[in-house]
């Protein structure tokens, strides 16, 4: 059977030096740090954002004694600023970090990149082990670029524009206020900010699943590498790595 799932099996290593695992330092500290900060802030942003759209708690009594909605918005804004700092720092590290910090960059103008992405999609659908990479693979890179970078920028721009509304004419308004008329008013900006936010749980679901899937099928310590920075690889894997 050709399509067997090639889960990691230590027996396969016997007598095959090219299959022996080695260890490499892949993810530098800023990459790991921004990864977790981004992840946590996205979860906080999504949950607080949902609450802001549907405030369900209704404290009784005088309003002077409560600050529920205000506090949730405060947390949302704080998480947003943390996300932005982490996001910008990761972009900076894209340029100054090691090669793995740049891995997965979508070369959408190159046919080879598209072949690679389509090939990886097919491999995942056929439940194959797929090719292992030290950094991000092309499909992973494409999904990070689309979901986190592209939609991230959208959420940052619309979010800061909406945030600037509380201080008309202020510095944020001058920097990002143009987004609101561009999208067609404050109402539409709120709506699209809210709609695009849903892409993030979709991404998290896929991301976590594929990471676990790869970690199991490749047996390369992928999950641990996001904490330690070290990944395991078999020598044959490296031939494919870019």
């Amino acid at each position: 059977m050709a399509n067997v799932v090639r889960l990691f099996d230590p027996k396969q290593l016997e007598g095959h030096p090219e299959k022996f695992f080695r260890q490499a330092y892949i993810w530098e500290l800023p990459v790991r740090l921004t990864h977790w900060v981004t992840g946590i802030s996205i979860i906080v942003l999504f949950l607080t954002g949902l609450y802001i759209g549907h405030p369900i708690l209704a404290p009784a009594g005088e309003p002077a004694n409560h600050f529920v909605m205000g506090r949730v918005r405060e947390v949302h804004f704080a998480a947003a600023l943390i996300f932005i700092v982490s996001f910008l720092f990761r972009i900076y590290w894209f340029w100054v970090g090691n090669n793995y910090a740049r891995s997965g960059f979508p070369y959408i103008w190159r046919a080879a990149w598209w072949r690679e992405v389509v090939g990886e999609v097919i491999e995942y659908l056929k439940l194959r082990r797929g090719r292992a990479y030290l950094g991000h693979n092309a499909l992973g890179g494409a999904s990070y670029t689309f979901f986190i970078v592209l939609l991230g920028w959208f959420e940052i721009f619309t979010g800061l524009a909406l945030y600037s509304e509380v201080n008309p004419g202020g510095p944020l308004d001058r920097l990002f206020g143009w987004v609101i008329p561009l999208i067609g008013g404050s109402y539409k900006t709120h709506m699209y900010h809210h709609l695009v936010a849903w892409a993030f749980p979709v991404f998290v679901l896929m991301h976590v699943y594929v990471v676990l899937y790869d970690a199991v099928t490749l047996g390369n310590g992928l999950v641990g590498s996001m904490i330690s920075g070290h990944k395991f690889y078999q020598r044959e894997d490296v031939q494919d790595d870019k």
Binding site: M1, V5, G15, P63, F67, P168, L195, W198, P201, L205
Partner: protein, 373 residues
């Protein structure tokens, strides 16, 4: 109307009406206060009223409901009477003037000829552009033509109300008459947008007073609205804002929260997305405004507010061709679809793993020398 335009200043006209200087100064102070000006600016207002000749104004009515005029004539600070009779020279307004028919159109032509670049054009309503603009005709001429002709020599254009400044109901989807707001039809002229359906009366008279006093348009925001009246959201100056921050919301029109005057955010109030002065200037001489009467704002001064879905829904439908659902519905569908996809892949993987054959000789690595790292 042999002399449609009078070069007399506001002060001259007031004196003719038997108003003494003390009352005139009081009028100037009130006007300055209505525009939100500092007391130090009062002399400037006085001098403008004393010396500047009144500006001739042509007030056109296109596709609209005349609610702007209705609002305008109810202005109390300053009262519209002062503006119409004393401060501007309202020479053409087909709704308000006594004359009718060809006489009226003659006046307009004469004004354009006599004061090229010297008159203010106030437009109430907008122009339909489909089929050559035939859906609004005035005196046998399309309103589109009338507007273009009058705008060409205007000093500046005031777009009264949501119709003129952002399209309003006649430009709502699917906009069968191709109605377009003024700023999309005319370029190269200073245009001031005064949105609202209708705008607050004092906002309208305040804008006119400012232009008359300083002979320039007030400071405008990115989409051409005067900052002094449209600088902030209704939400940020709403007296119910404390309930919003506390998290106390009306959930139904007859619940305890509604009786206690809690925030109308969950009932679809557009206060958080609407720029206007309703929550501080209020309506009808400061009596009340929609939220004050227990009803949410419908966002009438915002662009395309008719297309922003039901007024009683917080986040309404996303209008993507072929899709009409709330953001949360779309998100939930996407989320569930992803979960199903992930679940299917996981199930298939586990099923394969359970059913796979033992590793064959072909897969099994053959014994070879080993290498230690």
């Amino acid at each position: 109307m042999n002399k449609p335009f009078s070069p007399a200043s506001t002060y001259d006209v007031l004196r003719q009406h038997g108003i003494d200087r003390r009352d005139f100064l009081q009028f100037c102070i009130t006007t300055a206060a209505a525009m939100g000006l500092d007391a130090a600016m009062v002399p400037q207002v006085v001098s403008a009223m004393e010396t500047k000749p009144r500006i001739p104004v042509i007030w056109l009515h296109g596709l609209e409901c005349t609610c702007c005029s209705e609002s305008f004539i109810r202005s109390s600070h300053p009262i519209a009477q002062d503006i119409v009779l004393n401060m501007i020279s309202l020479d053409y307004d087909d709704t308000l003037q006594a004359a009718a028919g060809f006489q009226v159109e003659e006046i307009r032509q004469k004004l354009i000829k006599e004061h090229p670049g010297g008159y203010l054009l106030a437009v109430e309503g907008n122009a339909p552009t489909a089929d050559g603009g035939v859906y609004c005709t005035v005196g046998g001429n399309t309103f589109l033509n009338v507007l273009m002709e009058t705008a060409e020599h205007a000093k500046a254009i005031i777009a009264w109300g949501s119709c003129a400044s952002n399209g309003c109901v006649q430009a709502a989807r699917p906009n069968p008459t191709g109605a377009k707001p003024i700023h999309e039809l005319i370029s190269g002229k200073p245009i001031i947008n005064v949105p609202g359906c209708p705008p607050i009366a004092e906002v309208m008279t305040g804008v006119l007073t400012y232009i008359l006093t300083f002979d320039e348009l007030p400071e405008l925001d990115r989409i051409g609205r005067p900052k002094m009246f449209y600088g902030q959201r209704i939400h940020d100056k709403c007296y119910r804002r404390a309930f919003f921050d506390a998290g106390q919301f009306v959930e139904a029109w007859d619940d305890e929260g509604a009786r206690k005057g809690w925030c109308l955010y969950k009932m679809g109030c557009r206060g958080p997305t609407t720029y206007n002065s309703c929550s501080n200037m209020k309506w009808n001489g400061g009596v009340s405004f929609p939220i004050g009467s227990g009803h949410g704002c419908i966002g009438c001064s915002e662009a395309n507010f008719w297309d922003n879905g039901p007024f009683y829904q917080r986040l309404s439908s996303v209008v993507v061709p072929g899709i009409e659902a709330t953001p949360d519905k779309i998100g939930a569908v996407l989320g569930v679809a992803t979960a199903i996809g992930v679940g299917a892949h996981l199930t298939a993987t586990v099923a394969h793993r359970l059913s796979r054959k033992p590793i064959t000789d072909k897969d099994q690595p053959t014994a070879d020398k080993t290498e230690q790292e």
